[in-house]
């Protein structure tokens, strides 16, 4: 290992694999390592054997659950927004060719004790059981206001300034009830808490539009999902990287991040070998998160509790959907943060026939995290088996510009990948010194030339 690399990437989570793929594609010489013998790190999908190894040391998966190979259970529940940023990267890099995607069959929200479909257009608002007759009319006006908004045409603004007025002002203008605000802000704009209400309305407006646009793209929900589970995403970007010359080493313990006297990155030590590179990128677990030694370069921002539930039936009230998302807005259950449910099944090649995997998650607010999931767990019916984990969310303490050490963020509690892409774009800019938007442009050019 006396070769020198441009970039060493540590950890094969999705964030790291997208960066690795894009860097190799730009001609950088990349070495990508992981301490595990599987791809994906925190964002892996595991088969039953691997799941038991992680949660039930020493126990064998029960035979009644079926074949090991039929399972690909996500550790972090997220869906891909059909018209979101991850989709753009997938298409631009052609990584879509390695995977097949399916729609998530339904998007639901919890209100007043029961779940209903999330309406996403004025038409659907009119039919939705979520609202009474008068509220429907108000919601219809609200949606048509958003859909018709044009920045350059002030007659569409109805006296609102999206960049100055808060979302509260917009809700009040249309007289929307608090319960309606809940499903709009949490099940469509996908905010985890209510902080957005007092801020300028533009980002919320954009998120609602993204939801509606994504919904319109395939019809059943705004979400898509890769066959064989989310773990296919990092693996596919890793293949992209390998095709452009990236070198992959799994099952490689990392013992030390070697720096010079000024604290600048020199290389990575595994056993008594040290590999040198100009820069290093890695997930928080390689930089002091958890109990491993070495200099700590991350801080804990909060914790997420997740319960992976094995069901032998679809979630009640979802019209037997093979997959769905259910959002429980915080206010509905007297919390500060939403509870999410993400369910997938054999239709997505992630479980044996007639088995559903539902993951309930939320940001931890108390000292008894598992109990906080109760409102979500109650919606699932009989739970066949359950695997609970509490994960810390880490964020880097420095931007890497002075020491060439770039640490990515943990996978947060949001139900989609938009924040993962934000992190990719941010790290990209710091590592290459160029804005991510330029890369997009260049790729589009290249693709046009080839065709």
């Amino acid at each position: 290992m006396d070769e020198e690399y441009d970039v060493i990437v540590l950890g094969t989570g999705l964030t790291e694999c997208i960066l690795s793929g894009l860097l190799s594609r730009e001609g950088k010489k990349v070495l990508h390592m992981d301490r595990n013998d599987y791809y994906g790190g925190e964002s892996a999908s595991l088969n039953l054997t691997q799941l038991y190894r992680k949660f039930r040391q020493g126990k064998e998966p029960p035979a009644e659950l079926g074949r090991d190979r039929d399972y690909n259970i996500d550790l972090v529940p997220k869906f891909i927004i059909a018209s979101g940023e991850l989709t753009k990267i997938l298409v631009h890099t052609d990584v879509t060719r390695y995977m097949e995607f399916k729609q998530i069959a339904g998007s639901f929200v919890f209100r007043d004790g029961k779940i209903s479909k999330v309406p996403s257009t004025e038409m659907e608002a009119v039919k939705s059981p979520l609202m009474g007759l008068f509220e429907k009319r108000r919601a219809k006006n609200f949606f048509s206001f958003l859909q018709n908004w044009k920045d350059e045409d002030s007659t569409t603004h109805q006296g609102i300034d999206l960049d100055k007025d808060s979302m509260k002002t917009v809700y009040e203008k249309f007289g929307l009830e608090s319960g309606t605000q809940d499903f709009i802000g949490h099940a469509m704009a996908l905010y985890l808490d209510d902080d957005y209400i007092t801020k300028p309305a533009r980002p919320a407006y954009e998120r609602i539009l993204l939801y509606s646009k994504s919904m319109a793209r395939y019809g059943k929900s705004p979400y898509i999902y890769p066959l064989y589970g989310l773990g296919e995403l990092p693996q596919s970007f890793a293949r992209l990287s390998a095709i452009y010359g990236g070198t992959y080493m799994l099952d490689k313990p990392i013992h030390e991040i070697v720096t010079d006297d000024n604290g600048k990155f020199v290389g990575v030590r595994s056993g008594d070998e040290t590999v040198k590179a100009k820069q290093v990128i890695g997930d928080p677990s390689y930089f002091g998160a958890g109990e491993e030694g070495g200099k700590v370069r991350v801080v804990e921002e909060g914790k997420v509790v997740r319960a992976i539930c094995v069901l032998k039936h679809p979630i009640p009230g979802t019209e037997d959907a093979d997959s769905c998302q259910i959002v429980i807005p915080q206010k509905q259950v007297n919390r500060k943060n939403d509870i999410y449910i993400a369910a997938v099944s054999s239709t997505h090649n992630v479980a044996a026939k007639d088995v559903w995997i539902a993951i309930v998650s939320t940001i931890v607010e108390t000292s008894v995290p598992e109990r906080e999931l109760a409102p979500g767990l109650q919606l699932l019916g009989t739970i066949h088996d359950k695997f609970v984990s509490i994960s810390s969310l880490y964020t880097p303490t420095a931007d890497g510009k002075s020491d060439n050490i770039f640490v990515t963020r943990s996978y947060d509690a949001t139900s989609h990948f938009e924040t993962v892409v934000d992190d990719v774009q941010d790290v990209w800019q710091r590592v290459t010194g160029k804005p991510f938007s330029e890369l997009e442009l260049k790729k589009a050019d290249m693709d046009n030339v080839q065709e």
Partner: protein
Amino acid sequence: MADNAETSAVPDKPIQVKLVLLGEAAVGKSSIVLRFVSNEFQANKEPTIGAAFLTQKCRLEDRVLRYEIWDTAGQERFHSLAPMYYRNAQAAVVVYDVTKATSLEKAKSWVKELQRQANPNIVIALAGNKVDLVTASSAAGASGAAASNGDDDEDEADDATATPGEDAGEAENPEGLRQVPKDEAQAYATEAGLLFFETSAKTGEGIVEIFTEIAKKIPIDHILNGRGGASRSAAAGAAAADAVNLQNNAPKGKSPCSC
């Protein structure tokens, strides 16, 4: 569901088959693909940059297959091949080098892995490559005589570096280079239910045969009823309706493929 009706109504449309190559480093995986797809051979094959996979049509009497051939991109070198690579593959060619006994052991471990984790209906072929090194006619080339098969002299000259074990003495008795007897590999293949060939990417021997024999053995009906491993039940037909095609930005059904 409209998709399915369309597919079966047009029998001439090539049937798409994902085929993966597996095997130890330097056994000749990329060379086999190159021979099959372009009928070429390069004595010092560099890894191909930027190609996700190569495609090649294969005609049989009653059907046309379009192979989507995946090469490992070097990920197997440090035992880091991603399972997504062979996920959903309908066919696999597991390659070993007839002059290297350990490469057959590696091939066996890939076969095991495929039988445990891949699509249960996958068709697997075992290929004992570089058979030219152990047969008399090409050994003559290797020891300096004029090339008899029309290949570039360049190829011949480089062989000594391609296969470090080779020297002049052994070249006179090419069978001496062989480390894997044909009948031993054949017996293993039969027992494990694999197709078996000895091949040479250099001379072309056995290469087309691998792909045509695989084509004959592929369970076509299975593929038409949804993609490979995905289709386990009648539910697969209905589920196909939820498939999305990001590439074309087309809602639902796929555009009629122009291939």
